[in-house]
Symmetry: C2
Subunit: 276 residues, 2 copies
Amino acid sequence: MKIAVVGLGIIGGSYCKALKKYTDHYVIGINRTRSTAEKALAEGSIDKIGTPQELGSADLIILTMYPQADIDFIKENGKYIAHGALVTDASGIKTAICPRLCELAAEFGFVFVGSHPMAGKEKNGYEVSEAELYKGASFIITPCGAEQRYVDTLSNLAKSIGFSTIKITTPEEHDRMIAFTSQLPHALACAYVLSPCCPNHKGFSAGSYRDVSRVANINSSLWSELFLENKEPLTAELEQLIENLNKIINAVKAEDKKALTDILERGHRVKQSLGE
Amino acid sequence: MKIAVVGLGIIGGSYCKALKKYTDHYVIGINRTRSTAEKALAEGSIDKIGTPQELGSADLIILTMYPQADIDFIKENGKYIAHGALVTDASGIKTAICPRLCELAAEFGFVFVGSHPMAGKEKNGYEVSEAELYKGASFIITPCGAEQRYVDTLSNLAKSIGFSTIKITTPEEHDRMIAFTSQLPHALACAYVLSPCCPNHKGFSAGSYRDVSRVANINSSLWSELFLENKEPLTAELEQLIENLNKIINAVKAEDKKALTDILERGHRVKQSLGE
């Protein structure tokens, strides 16, 4: 296939590098900042620097910009996409983006299948992209009504570049689960490091501090967009968490050892039942 | 020195193994369950199985049981301890234990210096103890008025078995910091995995889920004791966290992108300023 990757940040850059390393597909890199695309070409991460006007030659287009930027890009450049070409995104939210991209697919005659590569780092940009980023990670697909063969194309491609789990789901289920597995930990990490104790943690901390605070090193602009586009599921998870934390506070304040042990034991059992 | 380690769980067992591996000290193991002590002796983790009545031969006694059990042990067996011997504990809380042990030290004529080895695993017991547990970890000392030479003895011993950071502080400061760096993440982990989404996380999760949920695999009985003995600092940290989470919720609900980005950016800057 000829694959156009739009956006050469950590996600797009890693797609290009992995595609070049593990597959024989021809990779076209499209990026707003020309110098990054030139670097990718010089390093052999892409076969060609493309422009939106050249999208017509691509069999598969992978959008890896911010959610709203993906939509704006297609609105403007959908007319260049070949009839029947497959377009996917890489957004961390789906309900706010999939229906709109499906409409644009119908308008311009391409096929849209949503996807979310569950990988990243605490740093962003092409510089930290790597061919191994997707190794062992989950690849979530939201078919959004596309024919099975398109889903298969995407699924096989994901496996070929290292993803170990393929999860097929709806945008709604995706967003509900991601609110819990990914957005909540990011919100937590930021809220956590804002404790006045945080700047003095060294010498008093070990793995627990490191783990909870890790993702506080956040891209605040991207994540605030992701949070706002997943408003209900995220606030529901946050409120649920606060409710559970309040149970712990109340048990501690009441010096109710039985109630406290019960809550902690319930957490312990969930982890154990998952074999973690 | 002759060192008696009281309690051969993960902490005590790791002390024994590290002392045998990295020092020439003579190690006496004292444990309620005889079979564990016999296993430790057979494996060469200790030089001798001791009894409380033989504590008089020890220059240093390390208590590694639960906080209240440490106190009960000394109340009952303090009379056997040699005059001028050094006693330390390994508890994760200090204000609730140090003053009481100082009183007992005065009563029985030994010297008490509190300490907290900042290491552990998600599993407990002698079986998972290891000589390398303390490598690179922090060793917190609460001198509680003891002469500097005793603090130095403990500090040098800690370095000799792998601790890389020695932190000298008061019980109050220790407990305030530990509420943030250790207890809060444990409370959080349990509250987090109680979300109804948790049992279905597989395929939707990556590093963020893994990191926040890790310590939910908790020893609920030990940690409820630690929480209750650090009531004020822990509830203050929990309430502070909830306040910060509510700011995030409010910004999301109000769709206030600027306010939301500001909070996340503040978290990002704290992490960055710490070079993490």
